[in-house]
Amino acid sequence: MADDTSPASAEDRQLVERLKSGDEATFTLLVRTHHASLRRVARHFVSSDALAEEVAQECWGAVLEGLASFEGRSSFKTWMFRILVNRAKTRGVREARSVPMSALGGDDDDETPAVDADRFRADGHWATPPARPDPERLLASSQLGAALTSALAQLPERQRQIVVLRDVEGWSSEEVCNILGLTETNQRVLLHRARSKLRKVLEETIGQ
């Protein structure tokens, strides 16, 4: 979704007009192009594949209902994903009420340092320095993907959503701020906490 925060393009406006006029081929193409990624993104907010599928399907209904009010202040795609994320978050919150607190990933605002303080000397320089990652070892590590996936699941909710959208899905910071309703600074602070924890996982995994 890179570079997709600009206002709607002429193509976006044409697309909306075709949908409003009931063009079935346009709708079918749109569904085929985006349904899988809607479902994948929804899956980061809810706890099962079935629920993610449901949210993605609901999103299409909401897109149709929202067509008349599409103002083109963002691109069609950003607008559509904002609808999806809002629906998915609502579902996620409803689900979380039935999940014990201990199963949640902790506090988004924890101020744990990026690296444990005991790895530094009193003067702030490394006592136990990190090792440069060996590219071959990275490629060969079949455990790394699994370790990162499981660490992602342990992150506090907003940290997980941000790092997944930024680094797994490849969205820009503007898109993530726009869709999740965050300031750029807030997004960066949470991204920093998330990436720092995941870096530790990488260090532990490839250091073995």
Binding site: F27, T28, H35, P113
Partner: protein, 80 residues
């Protein structure tokens, strides 16, 4: 800048959100500190590995034909 400070500024650097002065201090430290270069390399490797997660995860199942038909039916019935 100490190594410990650098580990807290690394995201601002990777995201290119530093003032010129801050970036200069960051780069001066990095130029003289092998350990912090290794730290930055680990951070970049982490971001790279996260970008590969989708590729290693099972590919998304194709959309069932009945879902597509159901969505199309909804589109047809949608009152504009």
């Amino acid at each position: 800048m100490t190594c410990q400070e650098l580990t807290e500024l690394v995201t601002d650097y990777v995201e290119d959100k530093m003032s010129l002065l801050e970036k200069a201090r960051f780069l001066v430290h990095l130029g003289t500190c092998t350990n912090c270069r290794a730290y930055l390399a680990q951070m970049k490797a982490t971001i790279g590995a996260l970008g590969q997660l989708d590729a290693v995860a099972a590919p998304a199942p194709a959309m069932p034909a009945d879902v597509e038909a159901e969505l199309l039916a909804r589109f047809r019935n949608f009152k504009r």
